[in-house]
C-alpha cells in the first residue's frame, strides 16, 4: 500500500512538475504546481509529517499559489513568446541538468542504504503538538524572526504593489 501510494503520488508530482516546466502558459504551470504541492502533501503524510502536510496545502496551495494565480490573472499573462536570448542556457542547460541529476542520484544511492525504508505510521513525531512544541521552545527565536520577516515582507509588498510608477 505504501509503495502504491508513493508511486501514484510521485508520478503525479513528477508529471505535474513536467507540465509546470513544459507548459508555455503560466496558468497551466500554476495549476500543475498546485498538483505537485498536493501530491507532496500526501507524501509528507506518508512520511509522518501531518502538520507539515496540512501547512503545505494551507500555505502553498491555499495562499501562495492563489497569489500567483491572482497576479497571472491581473497581468493577463499570456503564452510566452518563442525564442530566447540566452546562449548559455541553450548550450549548457540540458547537459548540466542531466549531470546534476545523475550525480545527485548517484550520491543519494551511495549515502542512503537501500534497505532503509519508509513505513507509514512508524514515525509519529510530526503532529501539530510535536512541531508546535519544538517551534515554541527550541526554535522560538527563529520563529519570532521569521514572523518579523514576514511582517516586513508584507509591508514591502504593500509598498511595492501600491506605488504608482509613472
Amino acid at each position: 500500500m505504501d509503495t502504491f501510494l508513493f508511486l501514484i503520488f510521485a508520478a503525479i508530482a513528477v508529471g505535474c512538475g513536467v507540465i509546470v516546466v513544459s507548459q508555455r502558459h503560466p496558468i497551466h504551470s500554476a495549476i500543475s504546481l498546485i498538483g505537485v504541492m498536493g501530491s507532496l502533501a500526501v507524501l509528507y503524510l506518508l512520511l509522518g509529517a501531518e502538520f507539515i502536510a496540512a501547512t503545505q496545502v494551507l500555505v502553498y496551495a491555499g495562499a501562495v499559489m492563489v497569489l500567483f494565480l491572482f497576479v497571472i490573472m491581473l497581468l493577463n499573462a499570456g503564452v510566452e513568446p518563442p525564442g530566447g536570448k540566452s546562449w548559455p542556457v541553450r548550450l549548457l542547460g540540458i547537459p548540466l541538468l542531466v549531470v546534476l541529476l545523475g550525480v545527485v542520484s548517484f550520491l543519494i544511492r551511495g549515502w542512503i542504504p537501500v534497505k532503509e525504508t519508509v513505513v507509514f505510521g512508524s514515525f509519529t513525531g510530526g503532529g501539530p503538538r510535536d512541531v508546535g512544541g519544538a517551534l515554541f521552545t527550541e526554535y522560538l527565536l527563529p520563529f519570532e524572526i521569521v514572523s518579523v520577516l514576514i511582517l516586513v515582507a508584507i509591508l514591502g509588498a504593500v509598498v511595492l504593489g501600491g506605488k504608482e510608477i509613472d
Binding site: S86, W87, P88, V89, L92, G93, L96, V104, L107, W111
Partner: protein, 617 residues
C-alpha cells in the same frame, strides 16, 4: 613649574586662524588689531616668562606630550627656553611687533590685507616654534613652516609673474638646503638614536674629537647645507635678492631680521656638534667669509635700493656665519641681534622711501629726499652708521667681536673681513647718498610716511644706535664654550678706519663729485660688468643646473620614464584588464537565465567536488 611656553607661538597662530577664516569679512582695522594684538600679547608673554625664569642658568623645558613614538624612537612635543632662546624670542617678537605695526601703514593701500597679516602671523608662529623647539624635528617643523610663509609672502603679489617666480626660486633653493637638513637628521637618528637636544649634545660631548670626526663632520656639513639654504650663503644665496619681490615689511622681517638668521641660530644651537668637527667649522667660516665678500662687492654696483640691502643682508649673514664658524657663537648671535635692528631699519627705511615715491625702487631716480622725508633720512643714517661699524653704534661692537675672533682663528680672515666692512660702509652710504642727497631725479611728489611707519623707524633707530651696549655676549657666555682671545686695539682701529674710509669714498663719489662713480665703473669695464651682473651666478646656475635638470626631466624623466615606461606599464595593465573585462563581460549579459546557467554550472562542480571529497558521510 609650567610657564605655558606654548602660548608664545599659539597666540600668533590664533591670530592667523582668526584672520584667515574671518579676515575677508571684517574691516582692516579689525584685521590689524587682531594681528598686532596677538603678536603684542606674545611679546608680553615672552617678557613675563623670561622675567619669571630670569637668571635662567639652565634650560627650562616644558613637555606637552609625545608626538611620534616608534619603537625606541620617540619625539616629544617639547618647548625649551635657555638664554640663547631668550635672546631669539626677544628679537623675533620684538622686531616682529615693530614690523607688524609698520605694516599697517605700508600695506594700507594694498589688496589682500587680511591675507598679508594672516601670513605674517603664521610666520611668527613657525618662527617661534623653531626657536622654542627642544629637538631637531620640531625645529625642522618651524624651519619648514617659515620657509612656507616666506614662499607665500614673496609671492604675495601673485599676479606679478616675477613675484611668483621669486617665490618658487626661494622655495626650490630652500628645498636643497632642507634636503641636507633632513639627511643630517637621519644621520643623527642613526648615530645617536634621538633628535632631542638634551640627548644628542651630551652624547656628542662624551665623544673624543678624533673618534667623532667622520660622522659628526658629516652631520655638521649637512646641517650647514641646510643653513646655507635658509641663511642665504654661497652657493645657495641666490634666492634672497629675488625675495625682495615681496612687500618690504616682509623683506625686513623675514628676509633680514628673523628667518634668514635661522641658519645662524641653528648652528649656534648645535655648537656641541660643530665644536667636535673642526673641519666643518673651517668650511663654515670660509663660506661665511666668502659670502660676506662676494655679496658686498655685488652690493656696491646695484641700483635697486632693496637689492642693495638684500646683498647687504647676504653679506652680513656671511659675517654671522663667519662668527659661528670661528667659534665665536656669542658674537655671531650678538651680530644677529644688532643686525636684526639695523637691517630691519634699513629695509623699513627703504620701504618708507619707496612708499614716499609711490613704489619707485631705482636709486638713479631718487635723490635729495632728505628735505622731503627727514625722519626716514635720519633713521636711515642711524642704520648706516650702525652697519658701517662706526663706534659706538651697535654694528661696531658685534662686527668687531667677530673680526677679532676671526683674527684669532686665522689672521687672513680678519683682513678680508675688515675689507668687507669697508665695502659695506661704502655701499650702504652710496645708497643713502644717492637717495637723500643731490637733486631729485624722479617724477611725482615725495611725501613723508605716516606715524605708524615712522615710529617703528625711530624705535629701531634707537636700538640700532644703542644696541651695541646690550650685554648680549655676556648674557650668552654660560651657554657657549669659553672663547679665549684678547681685544686688540690695533685691529679695531683698522676695521673702524676701513669703515670710515668706505663712508668717505662713498661721500666723495656720490656727494662731492657726482658722476665720478660712472667714470670709474666705465674705466673698470669688464670687472664692473662682472660684478654688476652678480658674477653671472644666476646665469651659471641656469646653464649648469637648471637647464640640464629641466631638460633632463622633460626628455628623460617625462617623455621616456613617465610617459613611456610608467604610463606604458600602467596603461598596459589597464588595457589588459579592460581586454580581460571585455571577455568576462560576455558573461554579464544582463540575462537572468544566463546567470542561472552559470550558477548551475558552479553548483554542479561543487556537488561533484563534494562527492569526490567523500560528501556528507
Amino acid at each position: 613649574m609650567m610657564e605655558q611656553l606654548w602660548l608664545i607661538p599659539a597666540l600668533p597662530l590664533a591670530g592667523f586662524v582668526v584672520n584667515g577664516v574671518l579676515g575677508r569679512r571684517v574691516s582692516k582695522a579689525v584685521v590689524h588689531t587682531v594681528a598686532i594684538g596677538t603678536v603684542a600679547l606674545s611679546f608680553l608673554w615672552v617678557l613675563k616668562t623670561l622675567s619669571a625664569l630670569m637668571p635662567l642658568e639652565t634650560a627650562h623645558v616644558e613637555r606637552y606630550g609625545t608626538w611620534i613614538a616608534s619603537g625606541s624612537l620617540e619625539f616629544a612635543l617639547e618647548f625649551a627656553v635657555d638664554r640663547l632662546t631668550a635672546v631669539m624670542l626677544l628679537v623675533v617678537t620684538g622686531v616682529g611687533l615693530v614690523i607688524h605695526i609698520y605694516s599697517v601703514g605700508y600695506m594700507a593701500h594694498e589688496g589682500g590685507y587680511y591675507r598679508f597679516f594672516a601670513f605674517l602671523n603664521l610666520f611668527m608662529f613657525f618662527m617661534l616654534t623653531l626657536v622654542l623647539a627642544n629637538n631637531f624635528l620640531l625645529l625642522f617643523v618651524g624651519w619648514e613652516g617659515v620657509g612656507l610663509c616666506s614662499y607665500l609672502l614673496i609671492g604675495f603679489y601673485f599676479l606679478r609673474r616675477s613675484a611668483t617666480t621669486a617665490g618658487n626660486k626661494a622655495f626650490i633653493v630652500n628645498r636643497i638646503g632642507d634636503f641636507g637638513f633632513s639627511l643630517a637628521m637621519f644621520l643623527m637618528v642613526v648615530t645617536f638614536g634621538s633628535l632631542d637636544f638634551a640627548k644628542v649634545f651630551p652624547a656628542v660631548e662624551k665623544m673624543p674629537v678624533e673618534a667623532a670626526a667622520g660622522v659628526v663632520t658629516a652631520i655638521c656639513l649637512l646641517l650647514f647645507v641646510g643653513a646655507t639654504g635658509k641663511s642665504a650663503q654661497i652657493p645657495l644665496y641666490v634666492w634672497l635678492p629675488d625675495a625682495m619681490e615681496g612687500p618690504t615689511p616682509v623683506s625686513a622681517l623675514i628676509h633680514a631680521a628673523t628667518m634668514v638668521t635661522a641658519g645662524v641660530y641653528m648652528i649656534a644651537r648645535s655648537w656641541p656638534l660643530f665644536t667636535h668637527a673642526p673641519l666643518a667649522m673651517d668650511v663654515v667660516a670660509t663660506i661665511g667669509l666668502l659670502t660676506a665678500l662676494v655679496a658686498a662687492t655685488i652690493g656696491m654696483t646695484q641700483f635697486d635700493i632693496k637689492k642693495v640691502f638684500a646683498y647687504s643682508t647676504v653679506s652680513q649673514l656671511g659675517y654671522m656665519i663667519l662668527g659661528v664658524g670661528v667659534g665665536a657663537f656669542g658674537a655671531g648671535i650678538f651680530h644677529l641681534v644688532t643686525h636684526a635692528f639695523f637691517k630691519a631699519l634699513l629695509f623699513l627705511g627703504s620701504g618708507s622711501v619707496i612708499h614716499a615715491l609711490s613704489g619707485e625702487q631705482d636709486l638713479r631716480k631718487m635723490g635729495g629726499l632728505r628735505k622731503h622725508t627727514p625722519i626716514t633720512f635720519v633713521t636711515l643714517v642711524c642704520a648706516g652708521v650702525a652697519i658701517a661699524g662706526v663706534p659706538p653704534f651697535s654694528g661696531f661692537f658685534s662686527k668687531d667681536e667677530i673680526l677679532l675672533a676671526a683674527h684669532h682663528h686665522h689672521p687672513w680672515m680678519y683682513w678680508i673681513g675688515a675689507l668687507t666692512a669697508g665695502i659695506t660702509a661704502f655701499y650702504v652710504f652710496r645708497a643713502i647718498f644717492l637717495c637723500f642727497f643731490g637733486e631729485y631725479r624722479g617724477e611725482g611728489r615725495p611725501h613723508e610716511s605716516p606715524p605708524s611707519m615712522t615710529i617703528p623707524l625711530i624705535v629701531l633707530a634707537a636700538l640700532s644706535l644703542g644696541g651695541g651696549f646690550l650685554p648680549v655676549p655676556h648674557f650668552l657666555d654660560p651657554v657657549f664654550p669659553a672663547m679665549e682671545g684678547q681685544h686688540e686695539s690695533a685691529l679695531v682701529f683698522v676695521s673702524v678706519a676701513l669703515g670710515l674710509a668706505g663712508i668717505g669714498v662713498a661721500a666723495w663719489f656720490y656727494v662731492l663729485r657726482p658722476g665720478l662713480a660712472d667714470r670709474v665703473a666705465a674705466s673698470l669695464g669688464g670687472l664692473y660688468r662682472l660684478v654688476y651682473n652678480k658674477y653671472f651666478v644666476d646665469e651659471i646656475y641656469w646653464a649648469a643646473v637648471v637647464r640640464p635638470v629641466v631638460g633632463g626631466s622633460r626628455t628623460l624623466l617625462w617623455r621616456v620614464m613617465d610617459a613611456g615606461v610608467i604610463d606604458g606599464i600602467v596603461n598596459g595593465i589597464g588595457g589588459r584588464a579592460r581586454d580581460a573585462g571585455r571577455l568576462v563581460r560576455l558573461l554579464q549579459s544582463g540575462n537572468i537565465r544566463s546567470y542561472a546557467t552559470w550558477v548551475l554550472l558552479g553548483s554542479v562542480f561543487a556537488i561533484i567536488g563534494m562527492g569526490l571529497a567523500g560528501g556528507l558521510r
